[in-house]
Amino acid sequence: MWLYLLKRTVLAVAIVATAMTLVFLMIHAVPGDPAITLLGPRASAEMIAQIHRQLGLDKPLAVQLALFFGRVFHGDLGFDAFSQRPVRDIVFEQLPYTIELIFVSILWAVMIAVPLGCYSAIRRNSIVDQVTGIVTVAAIAIPSFVVAVYALLFFAVTLRWLPAIGAGGGFKDGLIYLILPAFAVGLGWVGYISRLVRASMLEVLGENHVRMARSFGISEWRIVARYALPLAILPTVTILGVGIAWLLSSAVFIEVVFARPGIGKLIVDAVNTRNYPIVMGVVLVTTFLIVAATTLSDLVNAFLDPRTREKL
C-alpha cells in the first residue's frame, strides 16, 4: 500500500507539472498581450515595454517557465498584471466561493438523488420509476447554464424572490445567494446520481445476502438502508471524487451567469485579458484540486480493493 501511495503521489506531481507546462506554452502561443490590454490606446511603446519588464515577459519563454516553477516551489504565484496584488491572495479569495458552490450543489443533489434512486429501484418499472427516469434523464441532458438562465429569469427577475447576482455576505446571506447557482449546477447531478444509485441498487438487491435478509422477513426499507445502500453508494462516491473537473467547468458558466465571484469567473476574465499570472495561478490550483481528488479516490479504491494496487 505504501509503495502504491508513493507511486501515485509521484504520478500526481508529474501530472500537475505537465499540465502547468502545457498551459504555460499554450497561453503564450496564443496572440495577445496583457500590457496592451491594460494600457489601451494611451500607451506608448516604452510604457508597454515597462509592463513587459514588470511581468517578466521580456525574458525567453524557457526562462519564464523556469522562474514560474521556481516561484511556485517557494509558494509564490506572482502578481496580478492589473492590480499588482499577489496572485495567491486573489486565487484564495475566490476559491472558497467555488468550493462552497460545488459543495452545496452536490449536497442537495445527493440528498434528493439517493432516495429517488433507491425508490426507483425498489419500485422498478412502476409509474413513479418511469416518470423519474424521464425527468432525471432530462435533467442530465439540460446544460447547467440553460438551467441557470431560466431559473434566474423566473425566480429572480419575474418573481423577485431571490437575488440575481453576487454571493452575499455572511452565512445565512451566503446561503440565499447560493440557492439559484447551486440549483443550476446540482440539477444535472440529481439525474446522474439517481440513475447511478438506481442501477447499483438493482444489482445489489439481486445479490444473495439481500435475498437471505428478505427470507428472514426483514422489512424492505431496512434492507435498503442497512444492506443494499452502503454497497450501492460506493460507485457514486467514486464518481463524485473524479467528477470535480466536471463540477468546476459547470461552475465557470454559473459564475459568469450569476456574476458570482469564484475561480471560474476569475479564469475567464484572466484568459480574456491574457493575465498570465492569474491564469497560471488558477490552473495550478484547479489542477491540484482535480489531481488530489482523483488520487484520493484511487487511494480509497486501492484500500478497499487491493487488486487495483497492481494496476498502476
Binding site: V30, P31, G32, D33, P34, I36, T37, L38, L39, G40, P41, R42, A43, S44, A45, M47, I48, A49, Q50, D80, F82, S83, Q84, R85, I90, E93, Q94, W108, L152, L153, A156, V157, T158, L159, R160, W161, L162, P163, A164, I165, G166, A167, G168, G169, K172, D173, L175, I176, I179, V256, V257, F258, A259, R260, P261, G262, D269, N272, T273, R274
Partner: protein, 527 residues
Amino acid sequence: MKHTVDNVSRRSLLKTGAAIGGGIVAGGLPLSQVIWAAEGKVLRACSDGDITKLDPAFYNRQVEVDVMSCIYSKLIRYKPGSEWGWELDAAEHIEQVDPTHIRFRIKKGIKFTGGYGEMTAKDVKFSFERIFKQKSFLAPQWGSLDRVELEDDYTGVLVFKTPFVPVWLLSLTDATGHVLSEDAVMKATKDGGDFGLKPPAFSGPYVLADWKPSQYIVLTRNPEWSGPKPGFDEIRVVPVDDLKARERAYLAGDVDFTSISLDSLAGFKSNPPPNTKVEEWPSLWYYWIGMNMDHPKLKDVNVRKAIQWAINVPQILDAAFAGQVNVATGTIAPGLVGHRPKALVPPEGDLAKAKEFLEKAGVNNLSLSIDCTNDSTNTTIAQTVQAQLSQIGITIEVNARDNSTFWTLGSESQGERWKDLQLIVNGFIGLPDPNYNTNPFLQNQVGIWNWERFRSARYDELAAKANTVEDPDARGKLYQEMQDLMEDSGCYRFLTNGANPIMYRTTEMLASTRPDGAPLFYDFQPA
C-alpha cells in the same frame, strides 16, 4: 402572478430558511434588497467591472474613476448635466493667468483622514508632479506640465512648458486631477509610488469602507468631510461585467442604477420597468472601419475610397446597434470642441461612386479580410461590411478574434502580423477633450495604436497647435481639419460615437451624470 408575489414576505422566507421549497410569505423587497438594507439611505448601483486600482496616477477603469471621485477631492470636477463643463471642488478659486500658468487657491479646512491634516498646495504639487516622477502611463493627460510652484500654504501655480488647453476638461477634471496627501502616500509607499488598492488617506465626501473582490465596493460617509453633505449615507457598487447580467440585476431589484445594452434600449424605452427612468446619454466612444494603407492591396487611395463610398453607415448601425446610436463624423463626439457637423463621405455612401473609384484603381476580383473582436456588435459590423462590399465585387473574409488577440494585431512590437492587417473594425473610448481622441493617429503612433498607418505631417502640426489655442471655435476648426485629413486619406470610415443609456429607480434616487452618462455618485440624491 405578480400580484401574488408582491404579497410574499422575503423576511419570513429568510427566517424559516425554506427558500428552496419556496417558503414564501408576504412583502415588497427582493431578498437581496432586504439583506443589504442598512440603516440610512443606501445607493445601490452596478458598475461594469471591479476595481483594480485606487491610485489616480495608475488607474485602469472607469469604475475606479467613479469611486475615486467620491473618496478624493480635486481642484475642479466635472459639472453634472448635459453639457461638458467644470465647477470648483477643492479649489476656492482657479484662473488661467496666462497661456502657461494657472493659479489656484484651495479651500481651507479640507481634511485628510487618518490624522494627515489639512489639504494644502503642497499636496497638489506632490500629486500632480508625482505622475511624471513615477513615470505613470497617464502622464500624457498632463501634457506639458513642468511643475507646480507654491505661493503660500493654500495657493499655487501650475506651470506648463507650452500652453496646454486640455488641462480643463482632461488633466484637472479626470482621475489624474485628484489630490492626495503627500505625507500619507510617502508613509505608505516610501517613494511615492503606486499604492494600488489601499488609499492611504481620503479627502472626499466618502471613504472606502469595504471591498470584497468581485462582490461589492462599499463607500460610507467621511466623518471628517467639511463640504456639502452628499445625498446618500452609503454607496454600494456591485461589479458586473456583462451588460445583460446588469439588466437582470436591476430587474430583480438587486440594484437601483445601471447602464443598459443598446439592443435592450428600445424595449426599456417603450416598456420601462416600474418606477424606472431610462435616460440616453451620448457616449464618447468612436468606432470606425480602418484600412491599413501600407498593405499592398490597399496602397492605392482609390481602393480605399471605393470602400469608404461602398459602406452604408446607417445600415450598419441598424444591424449592430439596433439603430439606437448616432452616425459619427469623426473621432470627436457631438458636444465636444472640434466635432465636425458632417463627414466628407455621406453616411449612406454611394455604390456608383464606389465602383468608379475601383475602376480608377483598375482593380478586379479584390478579396480582403476584416478583423474585429468576437463580440456580437463588432462581428455584426464586420458581416454587414462584408455584405455591402460584395455589392462592388469585393470579397471579404471576417476574422473575429478574442479581445486580447485583437488588440495586438496592429502592433509592430508583437511580430509581423500588422503587415497582414487589411480592414479593421475598431473603436476607442474618448475623453471630453479632443486632444485625447486624436492622439492615437499621430505619426509617432504608427505601429502602436495607429494601425491604419496613416501619416500626415500636417495632422501632427495641427495637433500640436490645437493644444495651445484657447478660443474654442478656433481650436475646433483645427480639430475639424485633422479629421478631414484622416477621412481624405481613405483610411477611415467613421461609424458612430455609440451611446450610453442608463436606467434608475425613481422611487430610490435622482441620478446625476456627466454628459456621457458616467455616474457622479456624490451628486445623486435620494428620491
